[in-house]
Structures are given as C-alpha cells and as structure tokens.
C-alpha cells in the first residue's frame, strides 16, 4: 500500500459538489436482473444446506476453544479477540443456515462482549451460558419454545448488565 490507510484526506476549500456520472453498469446487463433469479439463488443456497450444520458446528467448536484459551481472564479488547470475531461470524451464519436461535445467542454474546459500559469485563459465567446454549442448539436442532425462552433470558441478563452504571 503506497499510502497509509489511516492518513487523513487533505482538506479542500471548495464548496460541496455533486458529481453525477453516466450509468456504465446498466447497459452491460446481459439479462434483466429481475426477481425471477432470486428464487434460483435461494435454491442454490438451500442446496448447500446439507453442509450447514457441520460448518456451524465447527465454528461453535472454534468458539469454545477460543473461550477455553481465555481461562478466567476476559479479552482486554473484545473487538480484536477471536471470541468476538467468531461470535459475529456465527451470528451472521446461524440464520442463513436455518438456525435462527443460534443467531440470537451469538448476537446476545456479541453485545455482552462489546457493550458493557466503562470497559467492564464480561462475566465468564454468562459467556459460558451463551456457549452452552449454542452447543445445545446445534446438537439438538433446538428450535422450540424452550430455546426461545432461553434466548430471551440470556438477552435479558445481557441488557440488565449493559444498563448498569459502570
């Protein structure tokens, strides 16, 4: 990279301008980009679904290993930790893979790792509760009312912690 990415742009003294450019992409469409092709894409994603459970399981295993490496010491910088990165990836993939509850558990864990005021460390017991929930969900295809109740309870506990003064 010839220029550092964090370098600030040179300030200009010009007034704001709007630049309207000719549309160079639309003329290159070889066929209409209409809704009919969405169904084909959904089917293609569905065709991969045989692998989804295995992929998600391996990510959850990785997440548990990342947690084990921490011992009882929470990550100092959650955004940079593998725990957070894996939680975010599981959050993204859970619902796409047909495991919406796992996305809920992972989203709640992301909030716990990132949103506590005053840089307070996340309680390990609550991190572990999220991991246990994810493991149970992938192992048992948990989709039922008990799973929803568990997700709601974890979300509530995280919200209460976030709401506490630092």
């Amino acid at each position: 990279m010839s220029q550092p990415m964090d370098e600030q742009p040179e300030k200009e003294k010009t007034e704001p301008i709007i630049i309207e450019r000719p549309n160079t992409l639309k003329p290159r469409l070889a066929a209409p980009l209409d809704d009919s092709i969405v169904k084909r894409a959904e089917e293609a994603v569905h065709a991969l679904s045989g692998d989804f459970r295995r992929w998600l399981e391996s990510l959850i295993t990785e997440l548990c290993s990342a947690r084990a490496k921490l011992g009882e010491q929470p990550a100092a910088r959650p955004t940079a930790s593998s725990l957070y990165a894996l939680s975010l990836e599981i959050k993204s993939l859970g619902e796409m893979y047909g495991y919406p509850l796992i996305t809920r558990f992972a989203h709640s864990l992301c909030r716990l790792l990132l949103r506590l005021p005053g840089n307070r460390p996340a309680p390990m017991v609550l991190i572990d509760a999220h991991l246990d929930a994810m493991r149970a969900a992938i192992r048992t295809d948990m989709m039922d009312a008990a799973g929803v109740q568990l997700a709601t309870e974890l979300e509530k506990q995280v919200s209460q912690l976030i709401a506490q003064d630092p």
Binding site: M1, L48, L88
Partner: protein, 172 residues
Amino acid sequence: MLGALSQFHVLIVDDSAHIRRLVIAMLRCYGCTQISEARTAQQALEILNKSPVVDIALIDWMLAESQHNGTDLVKHIRRSPHDHLIYLPIIMMTGHTDRENIETARDAGITEFLAKPFTAKGLHTRLVNLIEQPRPFVRTSTFFGPDRRRRNTEPPENGERRLHLARREKSK
C-alpha cells in the same frame, strides 16, 4: 443464455470462507462468472489494482490478519487517484448493525449496506440499486463518496455533470 451479471467482475472481501461460499453461490445464480475473493485488505487492493477492473465490491467490516478493517479499505479506495476505484460501487456486509456503525460505514464512503445475516433477496436488492439506480457522488471538504440521499433526478446521457449544491439550491 447469458446470465444478468455475466459481464461483471465482482470482488468479495470477507475473512469467512463460509460467507464467501454463500455469496458466490448467489452471484452465480445472477449470472456472474468473474468473481474474485480476498480475505484481507491487502489482498483486496492487489486485486483492485490489476486487470480485469472490478465492477462491484462486497466488503465485510472485519477482515482477517490485518490491522485494517473493511471501513479502512473503503476509505482507501475512495482516496485512490484512479476513477475506476474512487467511483467503485461498494456493498458493505456486516453483522455490526448498530446505528453508530452504519454511520461509520456511510462516512467511509460505502454505496450500500447489507446487514448480516442476509438473504439472496437482500443481496439482489442491493445489486439492483447499484446497477439500476446508481447514486451520484458528493465531494465536500471532509467527505467523498456516494450521496446516500436518494433523488428523483435522471442521470446524464453522457459525460459527467458536476453541480454545486449552492447553485442547485438557487435554481429551485
């Protein structure tokens, strides 16, 4: 029969092989055959700086093995001296969906925002927006990137038109 995006070169920048695989599956159904993949900002820049020119980039917020995240990469692209880069349509894919993060991505110069988890329909909608209703760009003293306020203006038939905001306001 050629697919809709058969003439497009799309770059996917995401450290998750799973996400890249899903996006590729979707893009292929939209007719796209020229697809490049990168895990890091550095890999992405190497692809962006060589032929064939990338037409659309899908960039994740968090990238692997790099001190630079997706928004840093977007800022770098928008400061490029090359037209094909500074005006590159960029879809930011991310699970960081808080308002603060969306604003950060917007201020970096993204064209569209695609929250994870996303669907084939969600990706399709963003692509339609980019291709059929491209946003004009705006340059201010502190920002250069797509104008994310939608306007009902027709694009110019040829050439490039630059309008001073003050002048536009006067002409109302």
